[in-house]
């Protein structure tokens, strides 16, 4: 079925206008802390450079192998599963944030986090989630200069 061009134009204009309004609304709701209501808003706006606050925090999985007394840091890129680098980092961040929150569903997030960790990390006797904090410029020149803090252990 072919649409009448007049109606086609009218509906296309409306569709585009609704989409634009949705994008703008999402920027506002995102800033207000309600999340993005419209999924086509904008992705990685980069309104500020990463690390712009001179401090950057990220989470990493550490594992303790049964035959090893040393905790092993798990690299994002070494995960053998289907998680892309973006998926890995965003899912881990989201799960850790949920597990550490005071909200009633933090127990559920903790359980999800365990499933995720056991899926992407090699089998281990114990796991921990470590928050790594660094100053970008200092860390760049001194790769060993960053703080670690264990936030979860299981």
């Amino acid at each position: 079925m072919k649409l009448n061009p007049n109606k086609g134009l009218k509906y296309t204009k409306r569709l585009v206008a609704v989409s634009m309004a949705g994008s703008i609304l999402s920027v506002v709701t995102g800033m207000a802390g309600f999340g993005e209501l419209y999924p086509f808003a904008t992705w990685k706006l980069y309104t500020q450079p990463l690390g712009s606050k001179n401090i950057y925090e990220e989470y990493r999985i550490y594992t303790l192998a049964p035959d090893n007394a040393m905790w092993q840091r798990q690299s994002v890129m070494n995960n053998p599963k289907d998680f892309t680098q973006d998926e890995y980092v965003y899912t881990l961040n989201k799960l850790v944030a949920g597990a550490l929150s005071d909200a009633p569903d933090s127990v559920m997030f903790r359980s999800r986090l365990q499933s995720f960790v056991k899926y992407v990390a090699p089998p281990a006797a114990a796991y921990k989630i470590v928050k790594e904090t660094y100053h970008p410029l200092e860390h760049l020149h001194h790769p060993q200069h960053y703080d670690t803090l264990t936030v979860l252990r299981f």
Binding site: K7, L9, T12, A17, T42, Q48, L50, N54, L95
Partner: protein, 362 residues
């Protein structure tokens, strides 16, 4: 919003000194082949999506969740294979049928757009809306009400021509918003005079690149590229803000589209290379939609014009009403339609007219 877009569109039309007929023919011709390219690419996208789904099936079921109530209701768990591949087959049929028939149909495009949205959802089901594929999905959504077909090439109506411009407005608006939003964010930081590293700080791009690489535990060897050429990156930021913000103008200015396409693809390419920000599907969709098919398929286009006995140079405006710059731009355009695109970038006309006026007074 609609009123604002009308204003932009009318302003552009107000300075439109081109042969109206030529613009319509070029627009419809290029868009027809752009849709064809998008449909061919859609098969590849469907293949990727099917392969991704098979991978997602391996993941633990309890880590599939949506924060959004609406989406949670739509897809409470990873759909089973018969359902997923059933919808995928529907998308293949809807896309394939429109491709074979060489015409877009509302009754096929609507289920196709909805199917693609649904097929993409599982990838977003792990705690975040990644916006991956957003340009691709939007392109199919905005196609729903555009009745483009092979027959349109012979009769490119005004309504169809305008619908196509609005289609591009919807796609390019995502870039415009991303660009405009950086301006208040930068001003805010500059006015507050904080110790934060804003985008015009000499270390800004270095920070952004280093943290991106570190985020993915990748070795970072690019530091000299940023420290030795800090000014280049500062200027690049200003160019990117201008380019992104201005991109919507190309929706109503076909002359600008290939140029804007090339610049946006370069922007994505640079982001992939030095900032680990991957927009592969968006880049491919931009290529599908913004290539100058009337030039690439020049023989076909000229043959069409000859068949229709169309003289594209017929509609010339009264030269006396034009400024010297506009006369120059018109001359460039009559020689090379798309080369003149650079002269249609927002601000160029104002700048040139200003210089002409100052030069006239000296």
């Amino acid at each position: 919003m609609t009123r604002l877009l009308y204003y932009v569109s009318d302003r552009l039309k107000g300075v439109d000194i081109s042969g109206d007929r030529e613009v319509k023919y070029r627009n419809v011709f290029s868009f027809y082949y752009a849709v064809l390219a998008l449909r061919l690419f859609s098969f590849l996208w469907l293949y990727w999506t099917a392969a991704k789904y098979l991978q997602l099936q391996q993941r633990p079921t309890d880590i599939f969740w949506f924060d959004h109530t609406l989406v949670k209701w739509l897809m409470p768990s990873l759909p089973n294979a018969p359902l997923f591949f059933g919808v995928l087959a529907l998308a293949v049929v809807c896309n394939g049928w429109q491709l074979i028939k060489s015409k877009s149909s509302f009754v096929l495009q609507l289920p196709l757009a909805l199917s693609l949205l649904w097929l993409n959802l599982p990838q977003w089901g792990y705690g975040f809306l990644s916006h991956v594929n957003h340009t691709f999905l939007l392109a199919h959504l905005f196609l729903v009400f555009i009745p483009i077909s092979k027959a349109s090439l012979q009769h490119p109506g005004q309504q169809l021509h305008k619908s196509i411009n609005w289609f591009y407005a919807g796609i390019l608006f995502t870039y415009t918003l991303a660009g405009l939003w950086k301006i208040p964010s930068l001003l805010y930081k500059l006015l507050l005079n904080t110790t934060d590293v804003h985008w015009l700080h000499p270390h800004a791009s270095l920070y952004n690149a280093f943290v991106s690489f570190r985020n993915y535990d990748l070795p970072f060897n690019l530091a000299p590229v940023f420290t030795d050429y800090a000014l280049f990156w500062q200027l690049s930021f200003l160019v990117v803000v201008y380019l992104q913000s201005a991109s919507i103008v190309a929706a109503f200015r076909q002359e600008l589209r290939p140029l804007m396409g090339v610049l946006l693809v370069l922007f994505h390419g640079m982001n992939m290379l030095v900032f680990q920000t991957y927009f592969v599907v968006a880049t491919l969709v931009l290529l599908c939609l913004l290539l100058p098919y009337d030039v690439l398929l020049g023989n076909k286009f000229r043959k069409l014009a000859a068949d229709l006995q169309t003289n594209f140079t017929e509609a010339q405006p009264a030269i006396s009403t034009l400024t010297p710059f506009e006369c120059f731009r018109q001359r460039v355009k009559s020689k090379s339609f798309y080369l003149s695109g650079i002269l249609f970038l927002p601000g160029v006309r104002m700048l040139a007219n200003g210089i002409t006026r100052i030069a006239g007074k000296l």
